[in-house]
C-alpha cells in the first residue's frame, strides 16, 4: 500500500510495472483467443489499467477484492499468479478455478480475491457481506468492490450502497466509469450522469478521479482506504476511464465512433506515466526495456505453464457442487472460509 515513507519514484515504477503486465498479458490473450486456446466470453481491460494498478496499490495482503467479468487486470494487480490465470483461461486443472471458471470467474481465496461475477452488480452484495463479517470478527480490513457505470443502474447497487452506508461497513466501492455499458452510452443508462454525486446521496464520501492517471488513482485509493480503516465507513470512487477495445471479443462497436476512441487513446495511462517518469528522470529507456523483458518472460512462462498443464479428469466433473469436507458431527465445522481471507 502507499506508505507515506515510500519514495514516489518506486510507487510510480510499481504502477507502471502492473499496468504493463496487464496490457501485455491481455495482448497475448487476444492472440490465444484467435488461436482458440481461450474460449467463451473474454472482456479486455486495455485502456483501464490505471484503475486496477492504482487501487490495488492501496490494499494490504489481508484486504478483500470482489471483481467483475472484466477482471484480468484486477487479478493480476492483486497478485494472482499469471500462470494460474492463464491456465484457467485454458480451462486447465492448474487454473486458479481449476478450469471451471474461465476468464469471467477467476478466484484466489488465499489472496482474498473473491472473483469475478458475470451477473452485472452481482458482486456488490458479497462485498457488503464480507465487510460485515470483518466487523463481526474485529478484522480491520477493507473490501474493495469493482463494478461499472452500467452496474449502477441495477437495483443491487442501490440496495448495497444504502446497506453499507446504513451499517457503516468498510467497503471501497470502485466504480469503473468507462462511459459505456456494452453499447449503451452513460447518458442512455443514467438520468443523472454524475455518478459520484449519486453515490454521495447515500451519505457516503464519494468523489471522481481521473482513471487514466495511475498515480492519481493510487492517491485517491490510499486516501479512501485510510479513511475506511480509520472507521469512516464506506467510500465511493468514480474512476473515469475508457475501454480501448471492444466490450468483448464479439463486439463490432457500432455504438461509438473511431474518433472518440482515438481521442482517448491519446490519454493512454501507460504512455502518460512513462512520459511523466521519463521527464522526472524516474525512468530511462533501459529501465523500460528491462521491465518489458521481465514481463514478456513472465507471460511466456504463464503460457508455457498453461500449455503443458493437465486438464481436470472428466471423472471429477461433479466435484465442488457440495463441499467434500464432511460436516463435523456435533461440533462446529472448521473455519474453512476464513482460511480464504
Amino acid at each position: 500500500m502507499v506508505s507515506k515513507g515510500r519514495p514516489r519514484a518506486s510507487q510510480h515504477s510499481e504502477l507502471l510495472r502492473q499496468m504493463l503486465r496487464i496490457r501485455r498479458f491481455e495482448e497475448r490473450c487476444v492472440e490465444l483467443y484467435s488461436s482458440e486456446k481461450i474460449r467463451g466470453f473474454m472482456h479486455l481491460y486495455i485502456g483501464e489499467e490505471a484503475v486496477a494498478a492504482g487501487v490495488c496499490q492501496a490494499l494490504t495482503p489481508d484486504d478483500a477484492v470482489v471483481s467483475t467479468y472484466r477482471e484480468h487486470g484486477h487479478a493480476l494487480a492483486r497478485g494472482v499468479p499469471a500462470t494460474a490465470i492463464m491456465a484457467e483461461m485454458y480451462g486447465k486443472a492448474a487454473g486458479c478455478s481449476r478450469g471451471r471458471g474461465g476468464s469471467m470467474h477467476l478466484y484466489d481465496a488465499a489472496r482474498g480475491f473473491y472473483g469475478g461475477s458475470a451477473i452485472v452488480g452481482g458482486g456488490l452484495p458479497l462485498a457488503v457481506g464480507l465487510a460485515l463479517a470483518d466487523r463481526f470478527q474485529g478484522r480491520n480490513r477493507v473490501t474493495t468492490c469493482f463494478f461499472g457505470d452500467g452496474a449502477m443502474a441495477e437495483g443491487a447497487f442501490h440496495e448495497c450502497l444504502n446497506l453499507a452506508a446504513l451499517w457503516g461497513l468498510p467497503v471501497l466501492f470502485a466504480c469503473e466509469n468507462n462511459l459505456y455499458a456494452m453499447g449503451t452510452a452513460l447518458a442512455k443508462t443514467h438520468a443523472q450522469t454524475d455518478l459520484a454525486l449519486r453515490a454521495a446521496g447515500y451519505g457516503i464520501a464519494a468523489w471522481p478521479v481521473d482513471g487514466m492517471d495511475a498515480p492519481a488513482v493510487a492517491q485517491a485509493a490510499a486516501r479512501a482506504t485510510e479513511s475506511i480503516r480509520a472507521g469512516a465507513g464506506p467510500h465511493f470512487l468514480e474512476l473515469r476511464t475508457y475501454r480501448f477495445r471492444a466490450h468483448s471479443m464479439y463486439d463490432p462497436e457500432r455504438y461509438r465512433d473511431k474518433a472518440e476512441v482515438e481521442r482517448w487513446k491519446k490519454r493512454d495511462p501507460i504512455d502518460t506515466l512513462i512520459a511523466r517518469m521519463t521527464a522526472a528522470q524516474e525512468l530511462t529507456g533501459d529501465d523500460l526495456a528491462m521491465l518489458e523483458k521481465e514481463i514478456v518472460e513472465e507471460i511466456d512462462r504463464a503460457v508455457a505453464f498453461a500449455e503443458q498443464a493437465p486438464i481436470e479428469p472428466v471423472e471429477d466433473l461433479t466435484r465442488f457442487v457440495y463441499s467434500e469436507i464432511p460436516p463435523s458431527g456435533g461440533t462446529m465445522p472448521a473455519r474453512r472460509a476464513e482460511a480464504a481471507s
Partner: protein, 325 residues
C-alpha cells in the same frame, strides 16, 4: 398443558437461540427479526438477549441482505438469513442461484458458503396469490443447495443446527400453517439426510412433506377405517432426495400417491414420480397418483383457496383408486 409442551414457533426460536449461544459466528438477519419480533414471532425476544448486531433488522432489500449473508458466510460467519416469506425470495433468487449455489464450483472448490436461509412458505391462510406460493420444491431443482422442510416439532427444533454445521448453503422452508402446531417433542438426534416413515402400512405409499405431511397422516387414518393400510413418508429433505426410503416403501406397497402443495406441472411431485418410474418401475401395480395444488394463482376467497390446495378427502380418494386399480 402438559410438561414440556411447545409449539413449532417456539421450537424454531429455541433452535436459533441455542445456535447463537453455542457459536458466536451465528447471527440472525432479516426484515423485522428484531424490534418487531419477527413477522411470525419466531425471533421474539432474541433481540433482547443478543442485541441488534446479532439480531439484525434489515431494510426492504432482499437481494442485498441475502447476498450479504453469502458474503458474510465467505468471511467466516454462520449467518441465518430470514427471508420473511418465499414470495419475496424471488427478489433474491439471482443471489441464491448464481452465487450461493454456484461459488464453490466456479471457484474450483475454494469458496464454500456455510449459509442458512429460512423462509415461511405455503398457502391456506387466505393471503391470496402473491403471498401463498409453495416454491420449496421448485428451489429443489438447483444444484449446490440443500432444501429442508421441517414438518414436525422435532424437526423445527433439530434441523437448524446440522444446517448450520453444513459447509454449504441450506434453505429451510417453514410452512405458515405449522407455527401453532403444539405438543411435546420426542427427544433424540435429528439428521438432515433421510426421509422419515411416519406410519407403516402395506397397501399404499403416501408421500408428503412440509404442509402436506400432516394431511397425509390424516388421510392414512381415514383409509385405515376402510381397511386400507398406508405407508406414510415425510420427505423432510427435498434436495437431495432420499430415494432409498421411497423405493423401499414402494417395493412393499406397489401403489403410490404423492401429495404436494406445489403446482402440479414441474413440481417436486413430478420428480418423485419420475424417480419411482425409473427405479421401481417393475414394482408398480398401478399408475402413480399425484395430489397437488391446482395450477392457478392462489385465490383469496376461502372456499376457492380450499378447493385449490390438497385436502385430505382428495388424498383418500386418490389412494383408494390407486389400490383399486
Amino acid at each position: 398443558m402438559t410438561e414440556g409442551t411447545t409449539t413449532y414457533r417456539e421450537a424454531m426460536r429455541e433452535a436459533i437461540r441455542e445456535a447463537m449461544r453455542r457459536d458466536e459466528r451465528v447471527f440472525l438477519m432479516g426484515e423485522d427479526v428484531g424490534a418487531y419480533g419477527g413477522c411470525f414471532a419466531v425471533s421474539l425476544g432474541l433481540l433482547e438477549e443478543f442485541g441488534p448486531e446479532r439480531v439484525r433488522d434489515t431494510p426492504l432489500s432482499e437481494a442485498a441482505f441475502v447476498g450479504a449473508g453469502i458474503g458474510a458466510a465467505l468471511g467466516g460467519m454462520r449467518p441465518i438469513v430470514e427471508v420473511m416469506t418465499v414470495n419475496f425470495s424471488l427478489l433474491a433468487l439471482d443471489q441464491i442461484l448464481n452465487n450461493a449455489a454456484t461459488l464453490l464450483h466456479m471457484s474450483g472448490g475454494q469458496l464454500n458458503v456455510p449459509l442458512v436461509i429460512r423462509m415461511t412458505t405455503g398457502a391456506g391462510r387466505q393471503l391470496a396469490a402473491q403471498h401463498s406460493h409453495s416454491l420449496e420444491g421448485w428451489y429443489a431443482h438447483i444444484p449446490g443447495l440443500k432444501i429442508l422442510a421441517p414438518a414436525t416439532l422435532e424437526d423445527a427444533r433439530g434441523m437448524l443446527w446440522p444446517a448450520l454445521e453444513d459447509p454449504d448453503p441450506v434453505l429451510i422452508f417453514e410452512h405458515g400453517s405449522l407455527y401453532n402446531l403444539s405438543g411435546v417433542p420426542r427427544p433424540g438426534p435429528v439428521d438432515i439426510s433421510h426421509a422419515a416413515l411416519r406410519r407403516s402400512g402395506k397397501h399404499v405409499t403416501l408421500i408428503g412433506y412440509g404442509g402436506t405431511a400432516g394431511k397425509t397422516l390424516s388421510a392414512a387414518d381415514a383409509l385405515a377405517a376402510e381397511g386400507i393400510e398406508a405407508d406414510v413418508i415425510d420427505l423432510r429433505i427435498l434436495r437431495p432426495l432420499d430415494d432409498a426410503t421411497v423405493m423401499e416403501s414402494v417395493s412393499r406397497t406397489h401403489h403410490v400417491v404423492i401429495v404436494d402443495e406445489g403446482w402440479r406441472s414441474g413440481g417436486l411431485s413430478a420428480e418423485i414420480s419420475a424417480r419411482i418410474a425409473e427405479q421401481a418401475f417393475y414394482q408398480l401395480d398401478a399408475p402413480i397418483a399425484r395430489v397437488c395444488t391446482t395450477e392457478i394463482p392462489i385465490p383469496y376467497a376461502r372456499h376457492l383457496e380450499e378447493a385449490a390446495i390438497p385436502q385430505v378427502p382428495a388424498i383418500v380418494t386418490a389412494a383408494r383408486e390407486a389400490v383399486a386399480s
